[in-house]
Symmetry: C2
Subunit: 329 residues, 2 copies
DNA sequence: TTTTAGCACTCATATATTGACAATGCTAAC
DNA sequence: GTTAGCATTGTCAATATATGAGTGCTAAAA
């Protein structure tokens, strides 16, 4: 279908456009293609017929179409080595022993967002599969306690409880001991029902002011399961891209970033690193979403980058790949 | 200086402009002022001479000047009762027993940001004054531990530590016990030096693999003191205001919201609720910053709202006042 | 003395006009 | 298959033109 020169031309046009964000003219490619602008125009016309290029208006230079990007991503682009600077920044994260892997992902995506000026999203690691490992209560004053819950995956949650001071520290301690005995190992999303049907009767039996205490713990725990677990970083970055040069477009995008269901549409099913260009994604026709699933000791999640369609595909892939390699699968 | 009718006129113009964001014409006030547009024009001209009004161009309607807003805020505006709906939303926060007061402030400001469409900032509650109340370590696996630190003000911080599995759980337990004994009651910003000069020698004496363990704890703790403790919510909201209808202005503002020193310039020294209109604040000439200090069991901080100069001053004051009343001073 | 009607004036906004420029498409010659 | 040349097309910026909303001012009315 396309001959070598046409493919080369498409590549040059896309890479030029990625850099400059301006329509590419035939003339500008004369030198590197070693032929006259007319020749290039002829080839461009063919590429446009095929649907790989577009014009913003009849007499403008060419711009890659979604189909063009798609072809570029699928057949032309070579997986790029990660550049030294990017590598360096990310390495410090994964070599930092004091960061949990989970935090390392979030932190890396923050850095990638900064490096690329795209917006990064860390989604999921659905805490449903977390099991309670320890419940701890630290008294701050006679009626002021902090409840801390630790899960086997390393999540830590805490809430402050205010209890009437008719309740003794000893009663609280007793209750916590009972709770610990009964719910350790329980998946976080089953804690509520377990509290109600198994813990409540036991507490009622052994602890005097069981009603108040039970309610306090119940409401603390029920908060935990609700956690959304979405992290969107660098929303500002994407606004700096020249394609978002219009207040209403900016508002549209910003609203989408705050829209839960929009963000959830980012969730990835496939393995591998997947690219959704423009209308291929559900988020917005003017952006590319590139995303991949990760699984981390049983927890699954998605990391994604959102940028203009004119994205540095090879670089972004290298970056995401690096993260994948450093967390396994 | 100004007669009653002029004050009334200024009031009407400002309140109209706050609602509509459009220059106010003389004609539009005829009915309510019960006189002809010419009369109003005469009065407007006087108000403009005084500097309370401005025109966007020679033949436009009038717009309040900063001086005009200032006069309105200082002398005209009446402290408003909080409206029922606003009240209701905020009440649920402060009546929620499971929220620490600190979280309640953050949550309320989020809600206020939503109610008003301005951007809210919670700043400070400088954790320097927090004293360590408890250090807890929860083992997740043989080499994977979670360190949790609780302070007397109810802050909870945690980090994951990876230790070589040559270190036994027992050794970790011992170390934690020693740390607990030595640093409970230490202000968070003094923990580092205390660890080095008091804890390190003791651990060295009693614990075998003291080097590794010490380093792990040291790096975990040193992270805690760095916490910035700034919360900016609803940056999106302010972009929806018609005064920010220009991509470059939006970018400018968004950058300021991510600029630490800019946000820190918001810190309030005065008691009371203070209003800084346009050039009166350091943040941006096109916005009003309204802020107030709070102190919460010894911790001090600032809450602030940033909106267009055309702000609903009376409503915002009522909202901030409500928060103050519900946390004491 | 205050208010108002009336009119000239100003400026934003919208729309059209123009010329310069940067591309392209096409054709004919190489 | 390639290229030079030229007409064509559409952007962009500058300029013109009309419209309308608003003002300032003045002279007359209250």
């Amino acid at each position: 279908m396309m001959n070598d020169r046409q493919i080369e031309l498409l590549k040059l046009i896309i890479e030029d456009y990625i850099k400059t964000a301006r329509p590419v003219s035939s003339k500008s490619l004369c030198e590197i293609m070693n032929c006259s602008s007319a020749t290039i125009r002829n080839e461009m016309a063919i590429l446009e017929d095929y649907g790989y290029l577009e014009k913003t208006h009849t007499s403008s230079g060419r711009v890659p179409s979604e189909k063009g990007y798609r072809y570029y991503v699928d057949y032309i682009m070579k997986p790029k080595e990660m550049n030294g600077e990017d590598m360096l920044k990310l390495q410090t994260i994964f070599h930092n022993q004091s960061l949990a892997l989970n935090d390392a992902i979030i932190r890396s995506m923050e850095i990638i967002s900064e490096l690329t000026s795209y917006t990064s999203i860390v989604l999921g690691s659905s805490s449903k599969e977390n099991k309670v490992t320890k419940v701890e209560v630290v008294p701050l004053s006679d009626f002021h306690f902090i409840t801390i819950v630790v899960t086997d995956k390393g999540h830590v949650e805490h809430r402050t409880m205010n209890l009437p001071d008719t309740i003794s520290v000893e009663e609280v301690r007793q209750t916590v001991e009972l709770i610990n005995k009964l719910i350790i190992g329980t998946p976080i999303d089953e804690v509520s029902s377990k509290l109600e049907f198994e813990v409540k009767p036991v507490i009622a039996k052994y602890v005097k002011q069981h009603e108040v205490l039970y309610n306090a713990f119940y409401s603390a725990f029920s908060d935990f399961t609700k956690e959304a677990n979405i992290r969107v970083t660098g929303t500002k970055n994407i606004l700096m891209q020249p394609e978002f040069d219009d207040a209403s477009k900016i508002r549209e995008i910003m609203n989408k970033f705050e829209d839960q269901s929009m963000i959830n549409s980012i969730k990835e099913e496939d393995n591998g690193i997947n690219i959704y260009i423009g209308s291929e994604n559900e988020f917005d026709d003017d952006v590319t979403v590139i995303k991949t699933k990760y699984s981390l000791g049983g927890e699954e999640g998605t990391i994604a980058l959102i940028g203009p369609k004119r994205m540095e595909y090879d670089r972004v892939i290298a970056l995401l790949d690096y993260i994948k390699q450093n967390i396994g699968i």
